[in-house]
Symmetry: C2
Subunit: 463 residues, 2 copies
């Protein structure tokens, strides 16, 4: 008999109540008395479980009662409404077939395991409630992002993972090579002879697809990237991973204001999509992971985001410098404590900070008329701090070249980028959303290791 998914039962129960159906899944728990027993069955298709009732009229009643947690079974029987019970229905089994046994050594027994312990079994932790919820929501956020941009006719661009340039200079990079490290070929000067490497030169893992993305925005008007990026930084925090995913939209015939509108619309769209499509999971997070999460997200989805310039923000922060470890002053980089003060205490909602000093921002950001600040924007959200960083890009050839020189960058690395300003340059802007930070923000999970299926951090690269 065709298996019915538990999700389908919960979504369309009236079609199944009173019918004989088959369901396959994994046992979360078994308890039996002499003549009957209960199984909590989970099939992975939704957060909810299915209660199975079985009786001693089954030939394998004794065997069933002895099944270990984690065993896989296929249950056939009538789905019966249970209006008095906690769950809306149960299946009364007339057949239970074992698909795969488990053992008493199964690492996920029916008790609460710490997140630290579960990190040691990344191949099994998605079977727990917490990680069922996290990774279903992660999947839904991914899709919401694609849906948002595709509905707006943005082109999804796969920017390269292996890169021959260090052009963005956003951080430490991983080297990619096919050279034999036991026996590195050397030039006559004793340097690594990269002509023997796969690409005939030094290559690294990308830190950002932005510059490549811009070339496509100058062809398609609106584009986005969504792919893995890498930082070889030795930072062992709850917010940093060596491998993470980024979304980087880029829009042409658009300025910083359009950019902020896009970011705000996108974040609200994602929140609404997840609230609609994962209500059980979001309730779980709200109850067990981060009380107040739902109220906070609903507030964000319905309120207009705040706007403040960096200069205005510094004025506010300076008046409150007694509260900060790092004292704020005009020209300083904002610390997480500053960001959280602004979004949590001053605005109590997401806020865009704009127009940062040019000296603390990247070379490609558009210089404002004051010649001191650039058209940058960071979006700060309560509980996290910065979640999005972006800018209008410098579209003037001469000004861009000047910035490249001033910052000591090599012109020849940016010829392709300068071409975009030589041939039909257009006002444009874009931003980067760290995907994992977004998942943390929407789930309330506090450690980036718990929102990545198989996290990569310093000294950790398992499975």
């Amino acid at each position: 008999m065709e298996l019915v998914e538990v999700r389908e039962l919960y979504r369309n129960k009236d079609q199944y109540i009173g019918k004989r159906i088959s369901v396959g899944g994994w046992i979360r728990s078994v308890r039996d008395s002499k003549t009957f027993g209960f199984i909590v069955l989970h099939d992975g298709t939704c957060f909810n479980t299915l209660q199975v009732v079985y009786h001693d009229k089954l030939d394998n009643f004794v065997e069933i009662s002895k099944l270990n947690v984690g065993s896989a079974i296929i249950v056939t029987g009538e789905l019966v409404a249970t209006p008095q019970a906690k769950q809306p229905f149960e299946i009364q089994a007339d057949q239970v077939v074992v698909e795969g046994y488990s053992t008493p050594e199964y690492p996920l027994q029916k008790k609460r395991h710490s997140l630290e312990y579960l990190r040691t079994i990344t191949h099994l932790r998605p079977r727990t409630n917490t990680f069922q919820a996290v990774f279903r929501v992660r999947s839904l956020i991914s899709y919401a992002i694609h849906k948002f941009f595709q509905e707006r006719n943005f082109i999804y661009v796969h920017t390269p993972i292996i890169t021959g340039s260090d052009a963005e200079g956003a951080g430490e990079m991983f080297r990619v090579t096919t050279l034999d490290l036991e026996n590195i070929p050397k030039t006559e000067e004793g340097k690594v002879d990269t002509s023997y490497d796969f690409f005939g030169k030094e290559t690294n893992l990308t830190v950002s697809g932005q510059l490549n993305g811009e070339t496509y925005a100058m062809a398609f008007k609106n584009i986005y990237t969504f792919g893995p990026t890498f930082r070889a930084e030795n930072s062992n925090t709850t917010r940093h991973a060596a491998e993470f995913w980024m979304i980087e939209p880029e829009i042409a015939f658009a300025d910083l204001k359009d950019n902020m509108e896009l970011a705000e619309d996108m974040l609200k769209y994602i929140i609404n999509y997840v609230l609609e499509h994962a209500p059980e999971e979001m309730n779980f997070f709200n109850q067990f992971v981060d009380k107040g999460l739902l109220d906070r997200l609903k507030l964000v989805a319905t309120s207009d985001f705040g706007h403040i310039t960096y200069t205005e923000a510094i004025e506010i922060l300076e008046k409150n410098n007694d509260k900060f470890e790092y004292k704020a002053f005009w020209g300083c980089d904002l610390q997480t404590e500053h960001e959280r003060y602004l979004t949590e205490q001053v605005f109590n909602k997401p806020v865009f900070v704009t127009d940062y000093p040019k000296d603390i921002k990247a070379f490609y950001m558009k210089l404002n008329e004051d010649n001191k600040t650039v058209a940058a924007m960071d979006l700060l959200v309560p509980g996290i701090g910065e979640i999005i960083g972006g800018s209008q890009r410098e579209d003037d050839y001469d000004k861009l070249l000047k910035r490249i020189d001033e910052m000591g960058l090599k012109r020849e690395d940016y010829e392709f980028y300068l071409d975009l300003r030589r041939y039909g340059s257009v006002r444009h802007a874009g931003f980067g959303l760290g995907f994992e930070r977004c998942v943390m923000y929407l789930t309330g999970m506090g450690n980036i290791r718990d929102v990545i299926p198989f996290p990569r951090t310093v000294n950790h690269c398992d499975l």
Copy 2:
């Protein structure tokens, strides 16, 4: 004035005819007579261009007439229906503002450029008709794949890019390292001391997410991956790239038959989605790139795929061995010439070949009862050959362990994978779709370098 996208004009022209609107875009060509001129404007939002008519009543009439190809302008004026002309409407400009100039050196002049030449300017080629069509279709296929799986409640899993295991053994790998290649730390035995590397061990770029994906299928039932994969193979062909994207679904409580149904449904879904959402682009390919493409795709979308076992296929091929460079015999790996003969001559439609000899397939494929073949499937399509490869997985702990030993693999590398068979093993299956092959198949483009925005091949890693 808010800019209207050219796509919007073509999709909802009745809303705009007779209205004064503004459109921003890039000039494909300008031609003028003494008192008026025409501009072909492209704004990147759709394949079609917009014809601009401008007159000498404009202050900058002379300047406009001298604009170089590639210049960016914003045109304001009335959109007028042109029922007698080739295009359905034109804009009669009362204002033309230059957004960004171009130069006579612009590398994309109004003439046909070879694909080889365009490969040398990957940052500009998306502005041409061919690459506008290719990369819009690539984006649409990506989204169609996500939509297909999400509508079926599959969980999108981001399997890792950097991997510490060589577990699948599918091909040559790229090493990922932060060691200083000029100065590799060595152990006392003179080997590379990987304890100094970022992850404290040797790491490489992934060749497949399948084994990781299986761990999630045993938790969520149905999952898919969609991410970059890598092969450091020195093969300079039109079908191989060092960096490409793969889709790998994995389904539990499912066998080879379910797997084939899924692959067939998916491919038909993608084709229908693209035909519906990119009619102009698909007509372009059909007319200029691959005549007969549309008929072939429509046939695929509406016909039931063929099915044949490897053993049956060999019988047919052996009778026709005079046609092949490599003679077919039971036990041989199928060559592209064999695959194309089967799908093009024997079936004239896509065909699944199943149940291959175990010795030419991977260790994880489920052994059939004959003990000689495994429950593998390859989908062959006309014009390409293999586009999808998959199998039911060995879900029996003892049989899997035996295969790992037989093939000389290290048990300790597969403990996590064996755990899936220790704890609630479930019949399951999956397949891999090479994304770029799929794009080539749907567009008719013959070289993989022309369906990847910034292709990576031996000795080529530009931008």
